[in-house]
């Protein structure tokens, strides 16, 4: 096998793992594969045992490679169950998380997931074994009891929901921890594996668990498909939903029940402590990427699935590595990516928009300078030389050349005479007129309507000229009675100037807007 050849040092092992991770994910979502490979690399670096890997030597490395191999051949049923289970829980948690996030109920998910622990313990005590159905029933009942307790506290006392949630979360969790500790003291309690419910162990998922998860996931998907419309309207506007006769309370409790299902099927692999993160994180990432509910749900389910699969894989590489934290880290990586690189709300996109906004302002200022040069020679002669532009803007000719090239790149100008003269295109001329017009209209508006002294208005107009829209310009024109000259006595370019498409003899008055927004 090719893998064996690479078994040299620690570094090789890490890159190998990373590659494996990447291959696994490429099938699902190509752009994300790099992320996952990066993440698995990071996780390997952070692995506590990699520090003394050199001393233990081949043994550890063989284990790791073998484990990875076992994982990807899927021959081991334990691997199949773990992977399938993790993906199923990812889908369910993602879907339900989508609703939790838009309903601003993220903390409810957290409280519910902690409240189920006593139910898990009691389900175990029912017949002293990890019977999936008994634990499922116990956990769902405990979760619903917790939800009811929150409801009761909220509606019979003056306490608000957050306090009620905190109370219930902590008290139920405390009861659960006591019960779990008790079980571990019982004969055979140590082997019960009940402690795995705290931080999760995907490898502990058995055939019975997967069957249960399939049923629960199927049910959740079916309910969301059937009642999408009802879930949507009650989430967005409960009062309206009630006014058209929808049973808002029943729909809410239905959603709560599905949420309890999601939490409970995720317990085994993710653990009580972190289940809420699997609800919230994939959905939060999806929320940043789209602004339609159905897409949000689909993305959240996909992210949940990916995080589940990756978490299961990583936890499989070493014995006793808890799955929950790894899954949550994988989901968090997706969230961080969405936060940074989301096309609309991402940090990078916003930075880019600001930057391109700045570039536009720069271009418009250049166009304005060209207009000023033409205006200074009363629009006689065509073309503006780079030297004239540079003098006007108090810059070097080289700077002016750069700006001229920038104008040409946006089809605002053509360059002639070996690139030394700027000829505005009709587009460029129109934009130049618009900017100068905005500037002078705004100056006039400030002096006339807002009574600001004429020598105070230029700086302000320098900024406003770039943001005035067609609608506002029309309003200002009207307010100023279609004035033709600014407070400094210079003509305001009008519609007739625009139509000329080239430098006119003199600007003409009487414009209403620009035919296109600036």
């Amino acid at each position: 096998m090719e893998l064996e050849k690479h078994m040299g040092g620690t570094r090789n092992r890490q890159t190998m793992t990373a590659n494996l991770g990447a291959h696994a994910m490429r099938a699902e979502r190509a752009p994300l594969s790099h992320v996952f490979s990066l993440l698995s690399l990071l996780l390997c670096l952070l692995c506590p045992s990699s520090g003394h890997a050199a001393r233990i030597g081949d043994l550890v490395e063989t284990d790791l490679a073998e484990q990875a191999l076992r994982f990807f051949t899927f021959q081991d049923p334990a691997v199949r169950y773990a992977l399938l289970g993790s993906m199923l829980l990812g889908i369910t948690c993602g879907l339900l998380g989508g609703f939790i996030v838009v309903r601003k109920m993220a903390l409810v998910g957290d409280a519910l997931s902690h409240a189920v622990l006593p139910g898990v313990a009691l389900g175990f005590l029912w017949n002293m074994s990890k019977d999936p159905v008994a634990i499922f029933v116990g956990a769902v009942l405990a979760g619903l009891l917790g939800a009811a307790a929150v409801h009761l506290i909220k509606h019979t006392t003056r306490l608000k929901e957050d306090t009620a949630l905190g109370l219930v979360l902590a008290s139920f969790f405390a009861v659960g921890i006591c019960l779990v500790t008790m079980i571990q003291r019982l004969p055979n309690g140590n082997k019960s594996g009940i402690d795995k419910f705290l931080f999760g162990q995907a490898a502990a998922i058995g055939e019975g668990d997967v069957k249960l998860m399939l049923v629960a996931t199927g049910l959740a998907v079916l309910m969301i498909l059937l009642f999408y419309k009802e879930f949507l309207v009650t989430s967005f506007d409960a009062g309206f939903a009630r006014s058209v006769g929808f049973p808002v309370q029943a729909i809410h409790y239905g959603l709560m029940l599905l949420l309890a299902f999601a939490v409970v099927i995720a317990l085994q692999a993710v653990g009580v402590v972190l289940v809420s993160a699997m609800l919230i994180t994939p959905a939060a990432a999806a929320y940043l990427l789209t602004d339609r509910m159905h897409r949000l749900l689909a993305l959240a389910a996909l992210f949940g699935l990916c995080a589940g699969a990756l978490g299961a894989f990583l936890s499989f590489l070493r014995p006793n590595l808890p799955t929950g934290p790894l899954m949550v880290l994988a989901a968090t990586a997706v969230f961080v990516l969405a936060f940074l690189f989301g096309p609309r709300h991402g940090v990078v996109a916003r930075w880019w928009r600001r930057r391109s906004g700045a570039a536009r302002i720069q271009r418009e200022n250049t166009l304005k300078a060209v207009y000023h040069v033409l205006e200074a020679r009363e629009f006689k002669g065509e073309g503006v030389s780079l030297r004239e532009l540079a003098e006007r803007r108090r810059e070097t000719v080289e700077d002016a050349r750069q700006q001229a090239v920038e104008l040409r790149r946006h089809d605002f100008a053509t360059l002639q005479q070996d690139g030394n003269a700027i000829y505005l295109t009709p587009e460029g001329w129109q934009r130049a007129c618009a900017i100068v017009r905005n500037h002078r209209l705004w100056e006039l508006y400030l002096t006339n309507a807002a009574h600001i002294a004429a020598d105070h208005v230029h700086e302000d107009a320098e900024k406003i000229e770039h943001v005035l829209g067609e609608e506002v310009v029309r309003l200002i024109e009207k307010r100023l009675n279609y004035a033709t000259h600014d407070p400094h006595g210079r003509a305001i370019p009008g519609l007739a100037d625009l139509r000329r498409g080239e430098a006119p003899a003199s600007p003409l008055p009487g414009a209403t807007g620009y035919g296109r927004s600036t």
Partner: protein, 265 residues
């Protein structure tokens, strides 16, 4: 507090009455906010509901629609209990009552107006979409159909809510402060829309917070302050005395009793 219009209305046959409220009392946390409301609204009226803060204006329309538990009394819509006639009721909630960052498009919101006719489980059809589009066009928001709602101004948001109510194709509309925080153009458009709906025989109950415009916008006024102070044609009801007893501090006893009831709990 009988008013001229009330008497006229009760003489008419029941089918011409769109909303009838009898001895309605509503309490929040045991504290009464509406006491013994009697109201008969004939079909085709454009009614402004005015009164000071805490007068129970929103509570009245919510209770009339069955959105709030009522302590006593009953409400009939077109001669039947509200629950039986929900599809004939349209509702415009307060704009601030929803999260405008919610991931839905303008079209999605207006389609919700069709949900009452669809009932549970059924999906909106092409016909429903056509209706939603027409309603959007009526409030001049069709170009925004595919925008997410967070990109809208206050006036545009209100137009979307009105389009949703239009899509309900109802006969009786309850609107909670549709003029709050909208621009002048939207305000004029809403007034025009209200009058058009009225001329088509619809009944409109509109909570309004601004007295001077209330006089111009509505042909009937309901002066409310925990109870009905007066209800009738605007020119008869918009009088100094009646407004004084609506807004002036003469209801202190009612408030004090309400306070006493609450304190005893």
């Amino acid at each position: 507090m009988p008013s001229p219009e009330n008497k006229v209305a009760t003489d008419n046959p029941g089918s011409d009455i769109s909303l009838e409220i009898h001895d309605l009392t509503v309490a929040y946390h045991k504290k009464p906010v509406l006491w013994g409301i009697d109201l008969v609204v004939p079909r085709g009226k454009l009614v402004g509901i005015v009164g000071p803060n805490g007068a129970g204006k929103s509570t009245l329309i919510k209770a009339a629609m069955g959105l709030l538990p009522i302590s006593s009394g009953w409400v009939k819509v077109f001669g039947e209990p509200v629950k039986k006639n929900l599809t004939r009721i349209g509702y415009v909630p307060q704009r601030e009552s929803v999260d405008w960052d919610f991931p839905v498009s303008v079209m999605d919101v207006v389609l919700m107006g069709r949900y009452g006719h669809l009932g549970l489980l059924r999906r909106p059809s092409k016909q429903d979409r056509d209706i939603a589009r027409e309603c959007l066009d009526k409030v001049k928001m069709l170009p925004y159909a595919n925008r997410q709602i967070s990109n809208l101004s206050g006036g545009q948001q209100q137009r979307v809510f009105l389009a949703r109510a239009l899509a309900q194709e109802s006969d009786l509309y309850f609107m909670d402060e549709p003029f709050a925080g909208v621009d002048a153009a939207t305000e004029a458009a809403i007034v025009e829309l209200l009058h058009e709906l009225k001329s088509r025989g619809k009944t409109l109950m509109v909570v309004h917070h601004d007295l001077p415009t209330a006089r111009r916008y509505f042909d009937s006024l309901l002066l409310l302050n925990m109870r009905v102070v007066a209800f009738g044609p605007t020119d008869q009801v918009f009088t100094h005395d009646l407004l004084q007893s609506t807004y002036g501090g003469r209801l202190t006893i009612l408030s004090e009793v309400a306070e006493a009831v609450r304190a005893k709990e």
